[in-house]
């Protein structure tokens, strides 16, 4: 055994507090160490060359590098080892920077500690065996969950790269929330005009399979090899036969709430969400259908010219294999009613949400683009917008900023001026957050050109008086209370992750935060990856976003997927758990604790059932290692013996 020890000075980062020369000479005295030296910058090119030269000169078979955190440079030095002709895993990094020089000031003590740490590293590397990465094949298909603008963008990008995509959407049409918007800030271009061509593209793309009314039920497998159960819920309409003529909708006698229009107006139990829906197929909602409630009707089936209505239709369960998954489940508006009784809690019909207002602004909306008070249908003249309803409010446990509220209020204020000449809009805000390109100018435009009166302060109370709504607020710029007699109040409600995002995250085994937003792997450097390999995030499911950001993130996720699937095989880390089958008692405690579902049961020829590690799934966390009652699971690169050697060394 020939071990080489290299002690990095890291300029003065280490050398100022630790005598690297002394550490090196102390290392020379350790058993099996044949060479030790101090290097100014080991990670630099000359530094690495010094290591390689020493490895050749002293015929080293194991190396200890005492430098910074392995998070920083482990891969660097593993590459150096490969260049030196040594198995990369025969190198042990000892952290004498973050764990020693940076946190101590006494040179004497710090040097002593560094010597201890190095001797532990030497003790550990003695027990090291060469490890080799294995390869797993990659399935070439991609699953995208959610058919909003994020899912659409990611699907088109990946499909254009020639990879087959399955786009799963929970609702009856793709388009998501963006399809419900009238105009988009800050350019005021028509939302559906820019979105619907993309939706149609999805429908006709040869590499995209669209599954609407479908939900992911179960996910098994791992990066490159996911197996997903998808439930296609019954809609009582045959997708292939329906022509979208809407005769059923016209004749249907059962009214139903209109979710697409955020509850403004009503629709029928069998209906198409909106004229540009993709696919343009009617959906029957059993909970509102007279036939399913009272047992008597069947009109839609009679009138359907395509014979597409089928009351017997049942859910279909598909099981498919995918190499990568993009989650793009989007957002929902926060339900403000419980949290804000002082705004009426939903009792005043003329206090509405911004999405309801948006649907009224839309020319293809339920009012045909006419803004009207829900209470009497009159055109409002004084309209008050309240920002941050359910945002930046710690008292209801929602300190987060919705990020888009300021902007869409400005947009709605500008559009209001166009829709109702002579109207006056008021905006109560806490801060105007308009950080995007052209955004601040847009908010100024709302004030200067559209005459919106911006008032800096939260509204304390709304109450009805003589057919109007009195909005009591404050203008902190003047330092006084203000009052508006409003005809209509629009609440810019905060943004929540889509309902069910949390349970989907559990199925996918990816982390999410207390608001249901899915967590990225690193907030800066891995913004579209999750901690589970092969699963990526796009759009507002990760946190509130506007359209440009969502599209950018979707394309980023698509790029990550394309990179992943451009390989036929994936290299896996060899530092994973290993079961000694001879001694396994088959208790499967390991399977219970494994967060990655990486343990499976296997029968041996002698009839024993033992645990087996699925190598491509195991992340090397070590939970099974400690849970195993007979201690027969070990972690490669961190075997029990190696750790005991380390501890023994430091206790010597």
């Amino acid at each position: 055994m020939r071990i080489g020890v290299f002690v990095c000075q890291c300029g003065t980062n280490i050398a100022a507090t630790v005598s690297t020369e002394r550490v090196a000479s102390a290392a020379m005295a350790l058993r099996d160490v044949v060479h030790a030296e101090s290097i100014q910058y080991t990670c630099s090119d000359p530094g690495q060359r010094t290591v390689i030269a020493a490895a050749h000169k002293y015929a080293l078979d194991r190396v200890v590098i005492a430098a910074c955190s392995p998070r920083m440079h482990e891969t660097t030095f593993q590459r150096t080892m490969a260049q030196a002709g040594i198995n990369p895993f025969m190198m042990e990094m000892v952290n004498i920077r973050e764990h020693c020089s940076w946190i101590h000031s006494d040179m004497e003590v710090a040097t002593e500690k560094a010597i201890d740490l190095v001797s532990m590293g030497v003790a550990k590397v003695r027990g090291q065996t060469p490890l080799f990465s294995s390869h797993v094949p990659v399935v070439g298909e991609v699953l995208i969950i959610g058919g909003g603008v994020a899912g659409i963008q990611a699907a088109l990008d990946i499909a254009d790269a020639g990879m087959p995509v399955t786009l799963v959407e929970k609702g009856p049409t793709i388009g998501g929330n963006m399809a419900r918007l009238d105009k988009t800030f800050p350019t005021l271009d028509c939302s559906s005009c820019i979105l619907t061509p993309r939706m149609v593209e999805v429908k006709h793309h040869e590499n995209i399979r669209l599954m609407v009314n479908s939900e992911v039920e179960q996910v098994r497998g791992y990066i490159g090899n996911f197996e997903v159960d998808i439930r296609k819920k019954t809609t009582c309409v045959d997708e292939k036969k329906c022509t979208g003529c809407q005769i059923c909708e016209q004749k249907c006698p059962s009214k139903a709430p209109d979710e697409f229009n955020a509850g403004v107006g009503e629709t029928k139990a069998i209906s198409i969400a909106f004229p540009q829906a993709v696919p343009l197929v009617a959906v029957l909602r059993k909970e509102h259908c007279r036939l399913f409630i009272k047992g008597k009707c069947g009109i839609c089936k009679k009138v359907c010219p395509a014979d597409a209505v089928d009351y017997e239709q049942e859910d279909e369960l598909h099981t498919e294999k995918f190499g990568a998954i993009v989650v793009a489940t989007g957002y929902e508006l926060f339900d403000w009613r419980q949290a804000y009784p002082h705004y009426g809690g939903g009792l005043y019909p003329d206090v509405i949400t911004s999405m309801q207002y948006e649907r009224m602004l839309s020319a293809s909306g339920p009012t045909g683009g006419r803004i009207q008070r829900p209470s009497d249908g009159a055109e409002p003249k004084e309209i008050v917008f309240l920002s941050c309803v359910g945002s930046r409010d710690e008292s209801i446990g929602r300190p987060l900023c919705c990020k888009v509220g300021c902007m869409y209020i400005a947009k709605q204020a500008i559009l209001t001026r166009e829709h109702i000449p002579g109207s006056r809009t008021y905006v109560f805000y806490m801060d105007i957050r308009a950080g995007g390109k052209g955004y601040d100018e847009f908010c100024r435009r709302a004030q200067k050109e559209a005459g919106a009166v911006y008032l800096r302060g939260r509204v304390g109370k709304i109450y009805p008086r003589d057919g109007k709504l009195v909005v009591m607020g404050a203008d902190t710029l003047v330092g006084e209370n203000v009052e508006v007699e409003a005809d209509l109040v629009v609440l810019a409600t905060g943004i929540d992750a889509a309902a069910g995002a949390g349970s989907l995250a559990q199925k996918l085994n990816i982390p999410y935060d207390q608001y249901g937003f899915l967590s990225e792997s690193h907030p800066k450097l891995r913004p579209v990856e999750t901690t589970t390999g092969g699963i990526f995030l796009a759009g507002a499911c990760q946190g509130s976003k506007d359209i440009p950001e969502t599209v950018a993130q979707a394309s980023a996720a698509a790029a990550k997927v394309i990179v992943l699937l451009s390989h036929d095989e994936l290299e896996t880390s060899p530092m994973i758990a290993e079961v000694n089958h001879m001694r396994c008692i088959g208790c499967f405690k390991c399977r219970e604790v494994c967060p990655y579902h990486a343990i499976e049961e296997q029968g041996l020829r002698d009839g024993r059932r033992v645990a087996v590690v699925i190598e491509s799934l195991c992340q090397g966390c070590g939970l099974c290692n400690v849970a195993c009652p007979p201690s027969v699971i070990s972690l490669r690169g961190y075997t029990d013996n190696q750790l005991i050697e380390e501890v023994t060394e430091v206790l010597r």
Binding site: K448, V453, L477, N481
Partner: protein, 187 residues
Amino acid sequence: MIPLSETLSQGRELVVEIERRSGQKVADCYQCGTCSSTCAAADAFDYPPHVFMRLLQLGVVDRALTSTTGQLCYDCMTCSSRCPISIDVADVIETTKNIADEQGIRESERGLRLFRNLFLKNVRRHGRLHEASLLAWFNLKSGKLTNDMSLVPLILHRKKVRIIQPRIKNRAQVRRIFQRAKERPKW
């Protein structure tokens, strides 16, 4: 409490008039506060310049008209020159004050308007400020002849104010400045 629905409707006409005369748009102001932080007299005002602008934005014109801001502002124009969106704040304040004068709104402190007029008259006459005569005229016109008289020996002794002071070279030119200012088509 400011009843906004009311003030914005009722105050609108006057705000439009102020905007027309001053050539400024009050909605342009984004309330950064630079004008107030740069104003040497803001502490003496009831409303510092940015609040004054805010009152006009909210249509609270009655308070703007009776405010001491216009009466005490010494037109140094620093607010206007520092404004990041180049609003002539001083002009807005002065215009409002002029309208208040026209409407015969009483000044908050007696003599403010008198002092202002005497000051301008004095500069016009002498080409520069002749402090001794201004003080004398002010006491005479305000009817408080003995006001601050006890200070006279001290200020004369310390040469804070000179009775005889050199004249400027070209008084006619200063007069022309006044003439031009008067002729300038402001509204």
